[in-house]
Symmetry: C3
Amino acid sequence: MAQAHTIATLGSHSALQILKGAKDEGFPTLLITLKNRLDFYLQFPFIDECLGIDDYAQFSSLETQLLQKNSILIPHGSFVAYLGMEGNKHLKVPYFGNKEVLDWEASRDLQLQWMQASSVNIPRIFIAGEPIDRPVIVKLFGAAGGEGYFVAHDQQEFDLKLTKFSGQKYIVQEYLVGVTMYPHFFYSPLTKSLELLSVDRRYETNADALGRISANIDPSFVVVGNIPLVIRESLLPEAFSMAKRIIAASQKLIDPQGLYGPFCLETIVTPDQKFHIMEISCRIVAGTNAFINGSPYSYLLYDQPMSTGRRIAREIKLAIKQNKLDLILN
Amino acid sequence: MAQAHTIATLGSHSALQILKGAKDEGFPTLLITLKNRLDFYLQFPFIDECLGIDDYAQFSSLETQLLQKNSILIPHGSFVAYLGMEGNKHLKVPYFGNKEVLDWEASRDLQLQWMQASSVNIPRIFIAGEPIDRPVIVKLFGAAGGEGYFVAHDQQEFDLKLTKFSGQKYIVQEYLVGVTMYPHFFYSPLTKSLELLSVDRRYETNADALGRISANIDPSFVVVGNIPLVIRESLLPEAFSMAKRIIAASQKLIDPQGLYGPFCLETIVTPDQKFHIMEISCRIVAGTNAFINGSPYSYLLYDQPMSTGRRIAREIKLAIKQNKLDLILN
Amino acid sequence: MAQAHTIATLGSHSALQILKGAKDEGFPTLLITLKNRLDFYLQFPFIDECLGIDDYAQFSSLETQLLQKNSILIPHGSFVAYLGMEGNKHLKVPYFGNKEVLDWEASRDLQLQWMQASSVNIPRIFIAGEPIDRPVIVKLFGAAGGEGYFVAHDQQEFDLKLTKFSGQKYIVQEYLVGVTMYPHFFYSPLTKSLELLSVDRRYETNADALGRISANIDPSFVVVGNIPLVIRESLLPEAFSMAKRIIAASQKLIDPQGLYGPFCLETIVTPDQKFHIMEISCRIVAGTNAFINGSPYSYLLYDQPMSTGRRIAREIKLAIKQNKLDLILN
């Protein structure tokens, strides 16, 4: 029965993980990708079919074909970048996850409202014109993959650097000095359970290169990789509790069922052992790629190598079995 | 026969790893935890029973119940913090490991004596009043998890910062500039063999955040996570040799059998490729949590995902089979 | 049939991985090592035999014995250091890989020619006497394991530090500020396919310790460990493409078949998300030791824990089956 559906995604971000997981759960797999990446993706044995396109504007022309194959699209971090917000919302092909969450993920104001409703710690946000009395990080709205950020230590540096963002929307956050941690969760609307599947820290260029030489260079935060991590066990109950509060708040704020499926809390942990959430990623994040062959945490729950990608496919399989696909598709 | 014993531990540190490992080796499992963590631990399928307590002073009231279940307690890094040194020593429930080691782990003077008897490199220790002629790290006695440390670059900074430790016992060590490495060993008193099971480096806040921006901030060393690591193979023979000397010295110094079971050498490796031992952790360390699903090193010895937690359970199983539980329990 | 050959290597670098992989593929295994490391290596159950020598000059005296056992030698990063370039070239025992590549790996001039023929980005090379107008890294010819490097920020520091390299050959490269990434590839001359097996970053002392305290200390780059990593998926197609161009260029430049088997591109990734290749390692690198029990990438291709060491043994097994050992041995 599972064979009746094809798991499909776009060729980037975590596509390999998603389709490997789908194949491990017994699904046919399909990839849509730019033609210049076809050769790369075609080498992987778990990808049954690759459709090449010249640009993402062509995506809609494939929808009939995807519907014929009874496809389910698994969105990842590059979906909005590639198909646009409206492109995502107007997909005709069934889509794993709640599309209403897209607006809440994209808007820093809505994220702020959501995080406040969840009673989690967040870095101090500076409103326009407020004096910069401590180090801050300034982020362009819609910045992805860590590009479009800068750090300013004081008002003068802030004013100087802001000129390059002129005319664009941005947010000014306190720069918290603490280590970054990205726990990867999965919330199942079928079993109502929350799972921690893995944790990573991002590997950012050049920020993660600066400490190695004494040089007075501005950091950049472009994410080019991920490093596996585990969290001190005494911090795990709070990590779970935060994630549960985020889910509970989403069920009140976001129709019809709030956030479900994979998500990540982008946190900084300060020396007082407190988590501070910078952002909620409302879908599979690239850090899960460090755990395609399983993680210390997913092994607590599954005696097989369970990645987030595979967990998505397992949820779809369960929904098919229970005849509840409408609960997880949009 | 293994079913006759229950593996029990306290809910923190590496409890998930310990009980998952126990379950994988076929033991019933039991967790004692603060009531506010019950929900968190109850979600894991490999924990057969959770007993909630209001505070750790209540622990002794559970001992009869634990004895009835034929429990074996597995201590970890939070046992002394939670039950106190005397609480640990006076446990009536059988306890994995040599309790005589507790004093040697807790006292920096005894550790020093042990390390010197093992002929290992250690950072230079400054005696009271000795001039601070190089960077030093100052550690409170009994500091755990990296809290209660400070760095001073010279005498002036040392004098200034020491005021916050006034009246407390502390140790002053040379701050060695080198990378940290925490190899995790297991010594079996049954087979007399030493195994390297995994290696990590700690992820410390804010020390591991400072290099990313140029800011003149005092480092703190609070451990909030761990990152997996492998060691250059040409350094492994010396890592083993150090660990063997530590075990051999313990058998002379510590009654009746010295150190056995899991332990970790907390080292710094300097550019001349020499290990320097800062501390001996005489039980399972949290860094092993990065390897709940196995490690590159444990895979050399076991074709299954062998964590330190599981290795402990395997040792107990072997002792039961050989009728030698008295050799490993206290 | 596979049993007819013994897989052999020298005791260092990635010997454990190579022999564990060989054993997993069904081969008898043999290690040649300095006598003071015999105890260390003898403890591993997958090493069938250990031959101790007093120094590497004795190696040639073992060749008859190795030939009698129908051995295949697997070279690793310590082969040239231990046996010398000529020692490697004149081995009588069959050797996995193309020995003609040795000269191209050892000479920075030939590497440069090869990288240029592959159209990959490389750091700017300064010719003798050229003014030092930006931070540079200066590397001794033949420097291994990250020793014999220094960083200079300007002409004055360069002139001062160069005195310690006087009379030796060295190369002056632009110091690119970006994160390091070491993807591990395998090219099969039997199937003509290129595989990405894993990725690491090196753990270097003291460079990876400097960011944790504010101290004005010269970095050193001695590699003492490795940390697992995954690469942003959108960078993977270029990583593969670079590796393919390296292989294709080698087939034109290096007789008779160019580079095959395991190799690593030592790269720096800058904030514009571009790879810059510092060096081509033409054999198994120590970073693969982080993946003795498999990697996220090798799991995409193999549903077993496939290390680079095991992949080599698998290639030999395939060559035996296809009666094509001459294609992969030298």
